[in-house]
């Protein structure tokens, strides 16, 4: 059997994290291809629905990345809102029987291409250890629709 390759959905903010990912790309920094990136205008734009829907659709992990705390946010406080939202969701995921480590929030600036690559490497490794999302495993037997 081939090794488990996790699927990670990444919501990256337009001003910092997405630019950071872009820099990683143009700098040709190697990182695992497990992430599927969705660009959003701000990490504070990431509705909890997006994250729950990603898990429901079979994501093994979800990354939200935005501008550094406290003062980098292009919209002043979107990153703070995102941070609290993710903290709350981690508590919720635990109650749903999903490991909170599958959900991450990271701060990546536009100049941190190397940090972006490190975050993806680290997260991919961690989720490989956790194995496939337990939700994905049971989806078949449930009444999803």
């Amino acid at each position: 059997m081939t090794e488990f390759e996790p699927k990670i959905v990444g919501f990256l903010c337009n001003w910092c994290a997405y630019a950071g990912a872009d820099l990683a790309g143009v700098s040709r920094i190697q990182y695992p291809p497990n992430i599927r990136i969705v660009r959003v205008m701000c990490s504070g734009r990431v509705d909890p629905v997006f994250i729950l829907e990603a898990f429901r659709s079979g994501a093994d992990g979800v990354l939200v990345a935005g501008c550094h705390l406290p003062s980098d946010c292009h919209y002043i406080s979107g990153n703070f809102k995102a941070h609290r939202r993710i903290m709350m969701l981690k508590k919720l995921l635990l109650q749903f029987g999903i490991e909170p480590e599958r959900l991450r929030i990271e701060w990546v600036s536009a100049s941190e291409g190397d940090k972006f690559a490190t975050v993806i490497k680290d997260m991919t490794e961690e989720i490989k250890k956790l194995g496939p999302s337990p939700l994905k495993v049971q989806v078949e037997g449930l009444i999803y629709g």
């Binding site: 629905v49 406080s77 809102k81 903290m87 969701l89 919720l92 939700l135 009444i143």
Partner: protein, 328 residues
Amino acid sequence: MISMEKEKLKFAFYWAASCGGCEIAVLDIDEKILDVVAIADIVFWPVAMDIKYKDVEAMPDKYIDVCFFNGAIRTEEQEYMAKLLRKKSKVLLAFGSCAQLGGVPGLANVANRKEVFERAYLQSPSTNNPNSGTPKTSFKVPEGELKLPEFFDTVKTLDQTVDVDYYLPGCPPPSAQVAKAVEAIAKNELPPKGSVLAPVKSVCDECPRKKEDKKISKIYRVYEITPEPERCLLEQGIICMGPATRGGCETQCVSANMPCTGCGGPCPNEVEQGAAMMSALSSILGVGGERGPEYDAEKLVAQIKDPLGTFYKYSLPASLLKRRVIKE
């Protein structure tokens, strides 16, 4: 007189996984119940009439004009009745939070059958069960075999079981909304199929409390403080589901100085209620103090003791994840 009788509508009421409060809600419309009896005959109502399932089975298809179905679906019997009443009814109306969203019985989706049985029949402090018996679907006695309906691992809403025409939210549905729905049925003025028979605005929108400055740093549970009667409960640090809950209840709970717990279900166009409330609460929690030395997002969020039970009190089976992951 005879011709009038012929024109009468046929109503049915049924209860599945529910507490019986919805049955009371029907009577809560007070003297308007006489208008109901004037326009309709009640052909099936287990709580009030002696009528058997076989009598319903004997009815021609689409015989019932409107079936008011309350309660979630958690047993084989309830599933059977949902399917039977769907077949026999022209209009099937999910009456109350449980039928619409799973309701409080739906919170059992944090466990499965085995865990529910263990808790209810073995572990609860008031239980005396020396043989450790739990319900079985069949049991042999000298007289023959006794049967019980299957108890499912997962509680489902009515529309996850059969096609539903209308939804009447609330725990129980507020009498004003029940009366309006009955009036719409009587006048044949029901909105398009799939409509929720409640106003489109949120509880907050109907709430008369003063809302000034939405930012909180400390969350209180209801027993911890006596809130000021005039000011928004959320601003006073009590988690009130008003922003994420559909109105129509005339803010009964909030008027009694108790926070909204969300029985009206999600607002229109909202994917799910819990996510909407988490989003709203995250936006006001700790606002203003973020750049201060004391700020700690984790500590702020740790004040919420039970996010699932708070944000999905009535809507767990209808939420995106629907239930806790079952571990083998």
